[in-house]
């Protein structure tokens, strides 16, 4: 091979390399840098070793935030996946209702995250919000500013309202790809509605469902904007997720070292969980492809 030809190729990838360097590699290196040093400002740094990592891993605050994240993700997955499937099943497959439903479903996904937070922040207020005021008028004690449980309910409702559509649209795409003959055969076989769902619709939705679950897990695990706008992490620390805690540490308290260590740990957790999901997904995909290739 001619060497000069190969060297020219580097110019083609150079823009991408520069972009990735400035947007990901250099910031990440800076964070690593901060995480092993201590500073009192004035650009003076002292070597701190693994001290910040130990501090973060030994702090109750970190573990509490992490468990809040896990609980939150588990709850919204447990609600959004079945609800998304149910809505997708109920949507019409043909006729004028299809575009109407699709547009309605896509609407929440088009709203910016901080706007979603603001909508729900106002919606839930006891004095002027439609939801908060109505509940108060009905005699239900609801106040997301003071009651941790109410704050959680509000945030979960908001996330369900915002993101169930994604699951719906993915499942719907899986459902419409099922040929009519399957439903006709099921009618001839005398299958119940449950059997049709269990043996025809669910298997056909399996792959899109895995994608939906992965996306919803990652997004919900990194949630920041909406709860920050609605509750600001309160009342107390009850809705302080890892991301909110991180910002508090870094910008609120200006503890750059611990914040950097925490970022790296947070990053590694997401990386690890996504890798596990990815492995499981590709294994399932490969298995069905392998079985399919006999045919």
């Amino acid at each position: 091979m001619d060497k000069t030809w190969n060297n020219k190729a580097w110019f083609m990838v150079l823009p991408v390399l520069v972009l990735v360097a400035f947007s990901a590699v250099i910031p990440l290196m800076t964070v690593v840098n901060y995480s092993v040093q201590d500073t009192f400002g004035n650009n003076q740094f002292f070597w701190a070793g693994t001290e910040w990592f130990q501090e973060v891993l030994e702090s109750d605050r970190f573990w509490a935030a992490l468990s809040r994240n896990l609980i939150f993700s588990a709850i919204i997955l447990a609600i959004e996946v079945p609800l998304g499937i149910a809505i997708a099943l109920a949507m019409p497959r043909r006729g004028w209702g299809v575009p109407v439903c699709l547009v309605l479903m896509a609407l929440p996904l088009l709203i910016p995250w901080n706007v979603v937070g603001t909508i729900w922040q106002v919606f839930g207020r006891v004095d002027i919000g439609l939801l908060g005021h109505t509940l108060a008028a009905l005699g239900i004690d609801y106040n997301y500013v003071q009651d941790p449980f109410d704050a959680w309910v509000t945030i979960i409702l908001m996330d369900v309202w915002h993101w169930t559509s994604l699951v719906v649209l993915l499942c719907y795409a899986g459902l419409v790809s099922i040929p009519d003959a399957y439903y006709q055969a099921a009618r001839i076989d005398g299958a119940s509605a449950w059997a049709v769902f269990r043996f025809i619709q669910l298997p056909k939705m399996q792959r899109v469902l895995l994608i939906a679950i992965l996306l919803r897990f990652m997004d919900s695990f990194m949630i920041y904007t909406e709860p920050f706008v609605v509750t600001g992490g309160g009342p107390g620390n009850s809705t302080t997720f890892l991301s909110i805690d991180l910002v508090k540490t870094a910008i609120g308290q200006f503890d750059l070292g611990p914040a950097a260590a925490m970022s790296i740990i947070y990053f590694l957790i997401i990386l690890l969980l996504s890798w596990i999901f990815y492995t499981v997904m590709t294994n399932v995909g490969a298995e069905s492809r392998r079985e399919g290739s006999h045919g």
């Binding site: 001839i188 076989d189 043996f199 298997p203 079985e291 399919g292």
Partner: protein, 367 residues
């Protein structure tokens, strides 16, 4: 098993049909005898699948009644009709094993477990699937998947009829023969009423005792493969069945002669005294019954092309600007581009507006 009667059936998919063009299936009366093997043959879009779905109950016809053994089942849902249907693309339950696929229709009907196991084993034996019972259905080849979906129909002991909707479309050519032979063997052994939809004439003729030819929403002929060949009731049947199809020429009837546009005359077998007025008259004769004449007799033609199709030769000839196909023996010598053709007596049919005119009845057949 049942005798299936379609009484004055018609179907339009749209809600308010205004004329014949809106009907996927025009008025038809038809009887499927108990234990018969029928092929439903016709081009795409002629209403074959609609007719099949009316029998199985997936569609309720806009007009007419469906009777199984004298019982009116028109409004009865599919599951209650005890019909089995095999679709164009294999429908199997991916996540289940072959055995569970076969057991599925029985379990849905609440059949006892012992009985289910017994039937599944029987059907697996009938279809040579015994070795595959524990395999997941997802990984099977297309022909095995079709067998499994056929098995789901056979497993019900009291099934009224088995309907096939172009079941061999996705099967490899060399396996088509095997699977068709196996279906045929099942028919002979168990005396099942079978209706087999196809647009492939070889498939239809080799499968069925009776072939029903459909064209544009109507049944144009029902008969044995021989009937369809020797006496096509409609020019479409003549054209669709046989390779190459029947030669059709416009003609004017004068007594016992048909006069072709070029002025040449063809002898007819009978008088047709009561021909329908203002109908479009045509004569039809199959390439098998047109012979190149060695002597000087016959109609003068120009030979355009000779194709060797294996055991026979097809000569494409030109008679006064109209093309005809002539079948000749493999060893026939066709030399020169001028020749003469004669039509074999008894095989020249007269058609009025596409329908065969019956010389005995003096009436328009099928009208």
């Amino acid at each position: 098993m049942a005798r299936i009667v379609l009484d004055n059936i018609a179907h339009a998919y749209g809600p308010a049909p205004t004329g014949p063009q809106d009907y996927a299936l025009k008025r038809l009366d038809h009887v499927w005898e108990d234990g018969g093997a029928y092929a439903l043959l016709g081009p795409s879009g002629c209403g074959k699948t609609t007719l099949l779905n009316i029998i199985s109950g997936l569609i309720i016809p806009s007009h007419g009644r469906v009777h199984f053994d004298g019982t009116d089942v028109t409004e009865l849902p599919t599951a209650a009709r005890n019909i089995a249907q095999v679709f164009q693309f294999p429908v199997i339950y991916d996540t289940m094993s072959v055995a569970n696929n076969l057991a599925f229709p029985l379990r849905n009907r609440g059949v006892a477990k012992d009985e289910v196991d017994k039937r599944v084993r029987e059907v697996a034996r009938m279809l040579n699937l015994t070795a595959l019972l524990d395999r997941k259905a997802r990984g099977l080849t297309a022909d095995l998947k079709q067998k499994v979906s056929l098995g789901r129909g056979l497993v019900r002991a009291d099934v009224n009829a088995i309907l096939f909707d172009e079941p061999l479309t996705v099967i490899d050519p060399q396996l088509k023969w095997q699977l068709r032979a196996q279906i045929k063997a099942l028919h002979r052994e168990f005396d099942l009423t079978m209706v087999y939809v196809t647009h492939d004439q070889t498939e239809a003729l080799s499968f069925a005792d009776k072939v029903v030819v459909m064209y544009d929403g109507e049944v144009v002929q029902m008969g044995t493969p021989e009937d369809l060949f020797v006496r096509p009731a409609h020019t479409f049947v003549g054209y669709f069945i046989g390779s190459p199809g029947m030669n059709v020429l416009p003609a004017e009837v004068q007594g016992r002669r048909a006069v072709l546009p070029g002025g040449h005359e063809v002898a007819l077998d009978a008088f047709y005294p009561n021909l329908p007025q203002a109908a479009r008259m045509e004569i039809g004769v199959r390439p098998e019954f047109v012979h190149l004449s060695a002597s000087g007799a016959g109609l003068p033609v120009t030979v355009k092309r000779v194709d060797d199709i294996g055991r026979m030769k097809v000569a494409r000839v030109d008679l006064d600007g109209r093309g005809l196909n002539v079948l000749a023996a493999e060893n026939a010598v066709i030399d020169g581009d001028k020749s003469r053709i004669v039509f074999e007596p008894g095989h020249v049919h007269l058609y009025a507006d596409g329908h065969l005119v019956d010389p005995q009845m003096h009436e328009q057949a099928g009208g």
